[in-house]
Assembly symmetry: C2
Homo-oligomer: 415 residues x 2
């Protein structure tokens, strides 16, 4: 049984992971959180200590860390005797943290694909650009590395594994639908790190269809679904992490990701993009000032952590898997809905951070207990889905499953 957990990253997701692991004192050992900004770690530790409705017997210990510095991370892992690292910092740090885990023997868990700050959109599959080349080394050294263990990627990968295992003999298509039907009441805000969030939509949209990578433009292709709980929602074909591992493990299925955006979001995004304000490339102003436009936009937008108190409404994240069963067409929809205000009541969070953080905390516990401590690098769809979905449900994110041989699983469906 692996004990002592180090969380790296003190944003909204780190907040959720800390809260959730603090309620599992018997399984966790000591609990640590590290960030470049120690004040953010301290605020999380205080939030955990203050939540009277949480059985938090663990004091969260806080550490200042520049996680780009693998040597510093190695030192911190050794000093804290952490055997599990949950990396929920900006995805630019993934490789440095993973290398520190390989060096120290700690298990590694993250929730998003590695990104090179200099490149907006790399060639697919993205995992092959950074993480997968370290697979062999992880296997040789017996390192458990679980890639993409948030909700999407993460729980949705487990949904696909469960659909393939229990519901369908052959999987023809996987449509992942992620809709935030909530409202934060701000003019414009991103739900997590603006730099990472806005970069998701500035490059080509890569999906896996008919056995090959297909490129579309952002906001080029949309669908409207009448979804359970959140109702009629428009979503847009979007590139996303999980397509890049699911396509390797389910190469015969068409794999698409759809994200909901309202018209106002798209308007603001298009203005920023068209004017060059989302560029990660520095420009030099008339007075010689060198500035990265995206960094200024990030600075001007509300801090995602500040949104939680005002957030109302629910998120919907689900997988619609279609294929055949007993030789006949069959389809299954696996989904979760999560209420923003409930997340705030429970742990002063909102549903975007909550849905990403709870599964990561569950993954850490599964590694700790041994179920998922497999001594190699995997994506979530390569692991047994049932224990993950059961524990995630127990920790606050229940799964609903609807299936039917034919027809529309939603109220209306315009494909």
């Amino acid at each position: 049984m692996k004990k002592n957990i180090l969380i790296i990253g003190a944003g909204g997701v780190g907040h959720v992971v800390a809260h959730k692991l603090a309620t599992a004192a018997d399984s966790v050992g000591s609990l640590h959180i590290a960030s470049r900004t120690i004040e953010k770690c301290n605020a999380i530790a205080e939030s955990v200590a203050a939540k009277a409705n949480v059985e938090a017997r663990i004091v969260v210990q806080t550490h200042k860390l520049n996680a780009f510095d693998a040597a510093a991370t190695i030192d911190l892992i050794r000093q804290t005797e952490a055997s599990i690292v949950v990396n929920v910092g900006p995805s630019f740090i993934n490789l440095a943290v993973l290398r520190a885990c390989i060096e120290t023997g700690a298990a590694y868990i993250d929730t998003a694909i590695h990104e090179d700050p200099q490149k907006v959109c790399e060639q697919p599959p993205w995992y092959a650009n950074h993480e997968w080349p370290l697979r062999a080394e992880c296997e040789r050294r017996g390192i458990t590395a679980i890639l993409g263990a948030g909700f999407d990627p993460g729980v949705v990968n487990a949904y696909v594994a469960l659909a393939a295992q229990d519901h369908l003999d052959a999987l023809d298509s996987i449509d992942i639908i992620d809709v935030n039907a909530g409202s934060h009441g701000q003019y414009f805000a991103t739900n997590f790190n603006a730099e990472i969030n806005l970069r998701e939509f500035t490059g080509d949209v890569w999906t896996w269809q008919e056995g090959r990578w297909v490129a579309n433009a952002m906001f080029e292709i949309s669908r409207i679904d009448d979804l359970p709980i959140v109702g009629r929602q428009k979503s847009y074909l979007t590139g996303h992490d999980e397509i890049h591992s699911l396509s390797a493990h389910f190469p015969h299925a068409d794999i698409r990701f759809w994200m909901g955006f309202d018209e106002h979001y798209i308007t603001v995004f298009e203005v920023l993009k068209n004017l060059g304000l989302l560029s990660e490339k520095p420009v030099v102003l008339a007075d010689g000032t060198k500035v990265v436009p995206l960094q200024l936009v990030k600075h001007l937008l509300p801090d995602p952590a500040s949104l939680a108190p005002m957030y109302q409404g629910k998120t919907f994240i689900g997988v619609l898997a279609k294929g055949t069963r007993d030789g006949k067409p069959h389809q299954v929809l696996l989904y979760n809905t999560c209420d923003h205000a409930d997340c705030f009541t429970e742990i002063s969070s909102q549903a975007i951070a909550y849905t990403a953080g709870v599964p990561a905390a569950a993954a850490a516990l599964l590694v700790g207990h041994g179920d998922w401590d497999i001594g190699r690098m995997v994506n979530v769809e390569q692991l047994p889905p049932r224990p993950f979905l059961a524990l995630t449900a127990q920790m606050g994110l229940p799964t609903s499953i609807v299936q039917a041989p034919l027809g529309n699983l939603f109220g209306r469906l315009h494909g």
Copy 2:
């Protein structure tokens, strides 16, 4: 007769002034243009030299000048023996240039009100904040200073003076309508210096109604007119320079300015404004970089000078003056329309710069010939309008006049 003219500012308007004065060799003496960026001066001098259809016997002489430095401007005025300075640089430099003119005895002409870069919207009347306090000194020293001698302010002030002089016994309302019905084909661009242009719309909208200053929000109040030549156009109540002098000289009239904007312009503007990207106040980014958001936006937008070759369509600028004549209601519309592509054919310009630059050049010639060399500081409505309108028409901007006792001077009018 005053000779030797120094143009300060080598943007689109400076280009037009240089071209137009170069065709009046006999009246001008030597012709000079100065700017912080000597390359822009040289490009204008080359453009003037290259226009075979222009009787340009004058070689435009170019000078590098930081016009914030009044001593440097004094030196340049003395060195060039300029007796007239046409200031068409950014309006931040007005006071420094005006002081240099007072010191050297040169006549001063500008086309826009002085602005303090630190303040977006000062209390009306704006002229009283900066220029008018120097009136007494100009009068004592016999300095001719003509404020706001472009089209608006400028020709429209002369329209008001002519309406009051020839058409109406009592002036009840003055509505200045400025619509650019042309298209530059770019996603978004400003027609002159983005910093000055966008600042026009970020503060309160000040108009003069019922004998007092009234504040509205930008895009709060609009009108739709079926205008001569350019047809049906929506315009918005906007603050503008000329209201601040006309209100002093016609205090019993309601004085409003209306500027045309299409929906796309407003969308982009609102996004930039709401996100704080039009702010002139520096912010400090995470990495310590200090940046003024508006400066970055300016940098990212197309150079206004680059728009001319693609520009199609026409501008409309006019004054609708209402009041009484012989005891009965009467109204008159004085207007000009100007074709972007014609401006490009003639002098490689577009109509926004052309309409601002031609009147400034005409004003310089009127000062040179003595008609307007009045030895004190005035706004254009205080001068005889006929010679100005006649010369401006002769130089490319003819005036049309429509009048009627009652009813709609346009096709349709929705007030």
